[in-house]
Symmetry: D2
């Protein structure tokens, strides 16, 4: 199992399907629309959860064309679709503020998605407190933090989130994180939205603690985008293509458990060399997905003026 090395439920599911393994308790719906592939993976039983290495819950994956080259119409459709999917996972009434948490390290480009998203959100909680008259009823009360990473703060991210939640008592927490994927082609153009929060050990930093309804006592929606691929999975990925010709399967599982492999190589994560640009484009799409999900009738122009 450990060699799957992906935070995407979709890829884990593909792995099982490809290897023709039984996966009772997992349902997959295809909800794709023109130019946006949408897959809904629902993990329904403890048994399936244990096999998949992911908690029971809903995992929606949107796959888009390269965000650098899409036109405005498609851009808007992607943003609205992300908003829809977020809203379908928010089942309770939102009476209290919503807290968005941007996980990751701002100084490591591939791990900076969370903080970059926070920078682009329409934040309103303070206006509701200090000048409620300037906001129409369409706006929700939104606040956000980018708590940094353990190596920089010395504090577990989860400790900061728990304590801030106690103070501001949000209705729901939306956690944004950079993920690892198996396939290079998914980097920054696949967005996973789930209602199970953050699993231990997921994410680019690889030392995330669980952040979920179980640990916070509040519904947690996690939005993740793959920004790195492990060196080992690049190998597998390329090999798969290479070996189509030969018609034979490599004994990858055996190889991965061979004693001989340098630990260092196994832990090497890589990122496309254009990651700086890709992260910015992607952060904008995810942030606007959240802005459209939370604030009714907001326009791109409102966002332009409200976000600096």
């Amino acid at each position: 199992m450990s060699n799957i090395r992906t935070d995407l439920a979709l890829e884990t599911h593909e792995y099982f399907t490809e290897s023709a393994q039984n996966l009772d308790g997992v349902t997959v719906y295809d909800k794709s629309i023109k130019d946006i592939e949408i897959t809904h993976v629902e993990i329904k039983t403890e048994d399936a959860a244990s096999k998949m290495g992911k908690p029971i819950g809903n995992y929606i994956t949107l796959s888009t064309p390269d965000l650098r080259y899409i036109d405005k119409k498609l851009y808007e459709r992607i943003v609205r679709k992300i908003a829809d999917e977020i809203n379908q996972l928010i089942t309770d009434d939102i009476e209290k503020p919503i807290l968005v948490v941007g996980l990751g390290n701002r100084a490591i480009t591939s791990d900076s998605l969370g903080p970059e998203v926070v920078d682009r959100l329409v934040i309103t909680r303070h206006m509701f407190k200090h000048a409620p008259e300037i906001l129409s009823d369409d706006f929700a009360s939104v606040c956000a933090i980018a708590p940094g990473v353990l190596g920089i703060t010395g504090i577990e991210t989860e400790e900061i989130i728990t304590s801030v939640c106690k103070k501001i008592d949000p209705s729901v927490v939306i956690v944004v994180d950079a993920l690892a994927a198996r396939s290079i082609e998914r980097i920054t153009n696949t967005i996973q939205i789930c209602d199970t929060g953050i699993s231990p050990g997921a994410g680019v930093g690889n030392n995330r603690k669980e952040i979920s309804q179980k640990t916070l006592g509040i519904p947690v929606i996690a939005i993740g985008v793959p920004t790195v691929v492990d060196a080992i999975t690049i190998t597998e990925d390329t090999l798969e293509l290479l070996y189509c010709d030969l018609g034979e399967k490599l004994p990858i599982d055996d190889l991965l458990h061979s004693e001989n492999i340098s630990k260092e190589i196994l832990n090497f994560s890589t990122t496309p060399k254009e990651i700086d640009i890709l992260i910015k484009k992607c952060a904008e799409v995810v942030a606007n997905g959240i802005n459209f999900a939370l604030h009714d009738n907001i326009t791109f122009e409102d966002i332009d003026i409200l976000v600096n």
Copy 2:
């Protein structure tokens, strides 16, 4: 009073002295050493505190030559002097972690001193938790946050600090902030260290809430460096020089209360055009001052390796 427009106790004191006003209850010691002017302003009575617009307590001000052009010896002496002064204000035993808080907005250069300092600290709390064997007894348990600003997070800085303090229960909180000064010449080469925390309305953002032992229940040391000057004080500053010739005093106080003055001008803050470089140099000096204060026997080489 409001027209003094400085966060530096030293400048407030100078203002009173220059205008020959009575300031009973304030003691000023000169502790200067070669190339580093050090002044200790102690506010002792409620009456003096009210006049000065600053709480009872100790305010130490170090003034250095332009940090861009000092040699290594002077650099080290400044760092060690900052460390000394911090340690003299930490009166209690430090048994629990120390929390450093970098106030300000990372995206506004002149307000980014706090976050830039946090990036350069030797952070150890997580190592004491997860791998205590790798740290010698010389190291203190240090953690840090850069909570962002109200306009970006929608949460009062003070709310975040209070809630994180509740969780991690520090012995002392060190708050680092960018300040406003009266005099352009002080920008990034004056460092104020005080034991009274952050006063309401101080700082570059101008909407700080009080962060002090009174609000947190824990000793708070504030380290501030001026990075902006109000347009109005640049005016005063220049005028003072200009009018030496004429031997007459401008009716500045009257002028400032004249109806005719555009609010906008009064609220304009300015910063030297080289602020990007100045902030980085200054953040390094302050961070190393804190590193030397908290970790016994640490060397510049340790810091180089421990901070990335």
Copy 3:
């Protein structure tokens, strides 16, 4: 004269007008349209040029509301108006490439306008060379450099421009630069477009050499935006407001020539503390003005896709 301290012809003209001085040989047209003040200053005679301290030629100044808070319609109108004014100064047929030069120091926020504009241009010269079939006839051949500043490169900007011009033989050179203004209110919302190139000593770095048709042998259009104000002019600016009440005029000219003034203060340039955001907004507007001027029928969507 030296105490006017502005790179804007408009402000120099205002200075003369205010002091009721004769300025034969200068014509001023008001071409303002809704929400955009447009002034055309034409300096026609050597005598006027010498008085104004600026060469004979056309200086168009657009003043806009704060770019952070304008709506999309006004944004588009500003961009198209800048494009119009640029095109009116390009009198020759454009058969050969156009070279845009972004002056200034990328590492000093207030001096980074030029390089930031270059980053946002639709660059096509290499495509015309290597893959002409992918570009429609609407596109011009555009190339750009950001040559850096003397202190970083050790080479006069003018030396780099001259030598690159020799190599690529452009039809016209457009130079973009950060300027100094007299009035804080103009920072990043006034755009000056002129056909006289860059005057010696202008700009934020204060050590520009002349870059003009005279030195390059090619028409030079200069686009400048004020990003700094000298401390001394902030003083004057504030004083002017302050003294309205008193009904008397300060002897500023006398004061400025008094022996007593610290040189350091006189050379202090300041910038608003929000300069990071202001520069980015402004660079986008100027770059798009150039994009619309040079490429026929280009759309904002084209720009989005062509610029990364």
Copy 4:
């Protein structure tokens, strides 16, 4: 040959050696000293040059431990060793300025090595011109440019360098560039110094034109550091480790020429996720190597004060 995919002569040589192929006309010296592996590859004949895919000349490779964790002594030894190797390749008398060229795209972290090095150089040419009295005889006349990349400027880097060389007539050109390597472990801790300039198609951007004594008419020293690895070589790298157990060799060459392989994967370059920090450390080491090579008796303290 094309599947070697490395800009390092050392790796090309290893490839031939491993596959036990004849390489007459190439001499390899080991000049390693404590903690720094130094290899000198000399390509002597046209035949060898053609086999190696690299011009006749000298290629010195320094391999260091991870630059993030070295102590000050080793840091200084690495810097001085780089300086020595540069100086051994500068055979002519230096009477005229030295031009350093930082290739690459500042906005793509993995391609930003060249511009980052330029930012850290001690630049003196302008001082020799304008204030020669302030520099001792120990200083050389050094200038530098970071000409940007074709996609941003629309001008071939080689066009800019040629024209600037014509203007300033340097004694020698030092070109700094980010390279591609075969092995992940080499990223940012291997430095190649050669006297053959830049080969066509080398570097991270993959579209470099030749920059050499042949094209410029001036000696060209190239300093390159690998910052990316092609996905395909990560595959090979990992496979090699994996297959040690199995004792068999994969038919990689066959595979790479199979029709079935997606072009996209083959062109994917990756970079370690910590690339932001690695590049900065490495740029500092390379820049100081150049500073020590060119300026006699310079100290780290001089550099600290002269570089901002």
